[in-house]
Amino acid sequence: MHRRNFVKKAVLSSMASAIGIDIVFGTTMPDGYLPLALQDPDPFEMFKKDKQMVVLNDKPWNMEAQAHLLDDKITPNKYMFIRNNGLIPEAIDVSKWTLTIDGESVGQPKTYTLSELKSKFKQHTYQLTLECGGNGRSEFDPPAKGNQWTIGAVSCANWTGIRLRDVLEDVGIKGDAVYIGYHAADIHLSRDPNKEPISRGAPMDKALQDETLLAFQMNGADIPLTHGYPLRLIAGGWPASVSGKWLQRISVRNKVHDGEKMTGTAYRVPCKPVAPGAKVPEEEMCIIESMPVKSLITYPKSGAMIAKGKKLNIRGHAWAGELEVTKMEYSIDFGSTWQRCRVEKPVNRLAWQHFSATVDFPQEGYYEVWGRATDSNGKSQPMLLPGWNPKGYLNNACHRIAVKVS
């Protein structure tokens, strides 16, 4: 951009000397080369995010919420984390946007326009939990490489779209189909057009679930640009990287999809537990599927000071990947004793569940309120960090807030 402006200035001054007068507004000539919206230095304005959101990375854009920002039952855009692997597509023409279904396991590839998808197939709305596989990475020791998410890379919005299953049935899938893999319009950080920033997917079982959508709306409006406008695959309960943004193509594969960030160590954990800091050969790393049981105390914000004798109402959300949360507890004595919280049923499968409780403190002092969810298989959140893994995924350790009673 600097070089470009320099060329522009140099040419303008030679134009000026040729004409014999100065071009008065030459230096304010608008630069039509880069999309102006993407030059905006204020990401909160650009992505319509609350100022309390935390920017982890600006190339590519990665931004997370804080626990108290996630208090809404349905996460609004302003509090939804951003996890981009590449650069946001630059010129989206919705009238020309198409989705192609291809791959070894389709009879004949088929291409749909966006309006065909919207009119031809029945639309469904589900509230779906999307959590980044690396949420909580910042706590691992030794530290793991990547964006250092704390607790805020999770959301549960309403997504409206059509079932992937309906479209795959319309195309016709062969019996040897194993996996679907998505391809999208985002741009590799190196701007190499032959590279995809990310191309992940899911096994056929997940692809064919009722709640696996090709979504074009989030919370009743067009999906925001940074969240995948105009078309996004949504696979709730799995690492959010399965929910590919800016969707252009889905390949139905006769083997496990081998796209970018499906192989190597990306979105994989050791198949067998390893010691912290261990070197794990790639063939001993397994793909993450359902996310583990987890919860967040979203009210009050950590740091609350209350008067002695006052009760404290706490609330938050709990989720368990493909499963349901069957029990939610809190502790104010670092896990010596646990009390039950009220926990609601999910509005639909794969939506987070809301919990609440009223806490009594026995005397003045410093407290931490810890929350612990248990899933329908009887697995609970650990109070310590779960098993170390090289890329720092799946930290579902209990969330806690600090409280002072005086």
Binding site: M15, A18, T28, M29, P30, N57, P60, S190
Partner: protein
């Protein structure tokens, strides 16, 4: 005779005028051509674009590599030996923010570089590799966190009902 002299004069003036017109036409074509090179979209004449998109180049260039309180302002990197080598090699594709939030030892910073070279189009760093790795290990080393850290930086506030 006088007639023929007048005619000659007339021709002379005529050819001069043609020369001037032709030169002027070439000059105009040249100016338009140069303008097209600078601004192929003719954005200067497009009044729909707001005039407020002012790109103030000289001011930016003055502050381009400014250091404030030991921090390279443009990237956020710590000012230390190897800073500009890191800036020039490590912020072309991704933001400096991705580097700064990570803490690794020499072996793992090197592994990250190898991964970027194998899969992300990072070039051979040559003798700069040692400079970069030394800078990273010195300024962004791992810290011990244990199995669970104490809650830090709690912002205390009075909770009203």
């Amino acid at each position: 005779m006088g007639d023929s002299k007048n005619k000659k004069e007339h021709l002379k003036f005529g050819s001069q005028r043609i020369l001037i017109i032709v030169s002027a036409v070439f000059l105009i074509i040249g100016v338009i051509g140069i303008y097209f090179m600078a601004d192929p979209n003719l954005s200067f004449f497009n009044s729909e674009k707001p005039d407020t998109e002012i790109v103030d180049v000289p001011k930016e260039e003055d502050d381009f590599d400014k250091i404030e309180n030991g921090i390279h302002v443009r990237t956020g990197f710590v000012e230390a030996e190897g800073l500009m080598t890191v800036v020039n090699n490590c912020t072309n594709c991704h933001s400096a923010k991705l580097v700064i939030q990570n803490r690794m030892n020499k072996e793992r910073w090197l592994a990250a570089i190898r991964w970027m070279q194998e899969t992300q189009n990072l070039w051979d760093l040559g003798p700069n590799e040692d400079i970069i790795v030394n800078y990273l290990v010195t300024n962004y080393p791992p810290s011990k966190k244990g199995r669970r850290e104490t809650l830090a930086n709690v912002e205390w506030y009075e909770l009203k009902d």
